[in-house]
């Protein structure tokens, strides 16, 4: 348990540093940056008590916002995916109840993980760009940027997941 907390702190700080030093400077096609930091929310241990995951996701988003001067945009989006991740997982796995003690997201079939990651990454970027533009007339820009960003994020996240699980 202690080891688990320590790992999560490393992941939290490491993902923030990686995001603000390297990933926010990629600027693919001039303006596309992947949001790899949501990996923390995706693999945060599933427990019955959901307060920690909500709180730490909010904190993670706010830290990213602090570095990129975006108010609370990332915090709002990250908090939202932290809230919907459990119901979404139940739908994807077609289970009404999850045994929290033995459950491990990385041990699930690949396609289920892929759809779990894809939906959350898409929702996350969609919320970020909707809050930023906040106009119906900009809907095409919002969708275009959401699509490119989430594809980039999904590819990076899946690769990182494979990398993280192989080590063990």
């Amino acid at each position: 348990m202690n080891n688990n907390i320590f790992q999560n702190i490393i992941l939290f700080v490491g993902l923030i540093l990686l995001q603000v030093t390297i990933l926010n400077n990629i600027d693919l096609f001039g303006y596309i940056d992947p949001y790899l930091y949501i990996l923390f929310v995706l693999i945060f241990p599933f427990r019955k008590d959901r307060i920690p995951v909500l709180f730490f996701s909010f904190l993670l988003g706010l830290c990213i916002d602090m570095f990129s001067n975006s108010g609370g945009t990332n915090a709002a989006a990250t908090l939202f995916i932290a809230f919907i991740r459990l119901p979404l997982l139940k739908v994807i796995l077609r289970k009404s109840d999850i045994d929290f003690v033995v459950f491990n997201i990385t041990k699930q079939p690949f396609l289920k993980i892929l759809s779990y990651v894809s939906i959350l990454a898409f929702v996350h970027s969609f919320i970020i760009f909707s809050i930023e533009y906040f106009k119906f007339s900009d809907l095409d820009t919002i969708l275009f940027r959401t699509l490119l960003t989430s594809i980039f994020t999904i590819v990076l996240t899946i690769f990182s997941l494979i990398l993280l699980t192989r080590k063990k």
């Binding site: 540093l17 603000v20 030093t21 400077n25 600027d27 001039g30 303006y31 940056d33 959901r50 307060i51 909500l54 709180f55 909010f58 988003g61 706010l62 916002d65 602090m66 570095f67 990129s68 001067n69 975006s70 108010g71 609370g72 945009t73 915090a75 709002a76 908090l79 939202f80 809230f83 809050i131 930023e132 533009y133 906040f134 900009d138």
Partner: protein
């Protein structure tokens, strides 16, 4: 009472989620409105320090370009000095008299350590703060044009509201005639800005140069801005005017911060006038 407690316990995750979401949204609204300094800004010890370290690597890529730009500006300034020496009456007489000199603006140097141009509300971070004499609402420019206005100030860093921000409105005028307009940005291409409120009498052409107007207390008159690339006329009025900046907003290195000595006096005067 029991029912309320039960309700809270039943929906505690949702209520907790709602509370944090409201906090996040209120930070965002604060950030998207012009006059509030924001809670989560990058002008602080931690993020400023990290951006500064990252920038040490990034700035190497643009060194050649920035060097050339500074060299060109130096040459321009030296040419102005050389012109004055030719006038024989000035060189002989040396008057030390403070009433003869009138300094209204003072310039500080700074380096941009974090530059945003991909979003709709863009901010820059510079490596100078209150301990270097920077305060809020000072103009930021380089030799090729204006860049923004300082907003959040910490001890060693400040954030700059970029001209690529929906809240940025800057008073500009044509260099050929004294007609004023407002420089804004629609969130599209980061090197094309929009000019509004220009009267039809200005009679602009493609290629006309724009400079800062000097009507605000932030920028002195005459800093270059850009040129007119295209415009549309509807109902005997300009419906859209696009301005191409002289600056490349995606690669900005050293900048000047402009402080106006008369700013406080002018603002107090304006405030007392509107209160009457």
């Amino acid at each position: 009472m029991q029912q309320i407690v039960n309700f809270i316990l039943k929906y505690k995750y949702f209520l907790f989620f709602l509370l944090l979401e409201i906090i996040a949204i209120s930070f965002t609204i604060q950030n998207h409105s012009y006059h509030n300094s924001t809670f989560s800004n990058s002008a602080n010890f931690v993020s400023g320090g990290i951006h500064k370290r990252v920038n040490r690597f990034k700035e190497y890529g643009d060194l050649r370009k920035h060097n050339n730009q500074l060299l060109k500006e130096n040459a321009e300034l030296k040419n102005i000095l050389a012109q004055e020496l030719k006038n024989p009456e000035n060189t002989r007489i040396q008057v030390i008299d403070t009433t003869k000199y009138f300094q209204k603006y003072s310039y500080y140097t700074a380096k941009v350590i974090e530059n945003q141009y991909q979003k709709k509300f863009n901010y820059l971070t510079i490596d100078k703060g209150s301990k270097h004499g920077i305060s809020a609402e000072m103009g930021v420019a380089n030799s090729k044009g204006i860049i923004g206005i300082t907003t959040n100030i910490s001890n060693g860093y400040s954030t700059v509201l970029s001209i690529l921000n929906e809240n940025s409105k800057i008073n500009v005028k044509l260099s050929k005639s004294p007609h004023f307009g407002t420089l804004e940005w629609n969130g599209g291409n980061y090197n094309i800005l929009q000019l509004t409120d220009l009267p039809i009498q200005a009679n602009i052409n493609v290629g006309d140069t724009l400079i800062t107007g000097g009507r605000s207390v932030i920028f002195p008159e005459g800093i270059p801005v850009g040129t007119v690339t295209n415009f549309k006329v509807e109902n005997n009025d300009y419906s859209s005017i696009n301005i191409k900046l002289f600056n490349d907003m995606s690669a900005i290195g050293p900048v000047y911060i402009i402080s106006n000595f008369d700013k406080k006096e002018i603002e107090q005067l304006q405030e007392s006038t509107t209160n009457e």
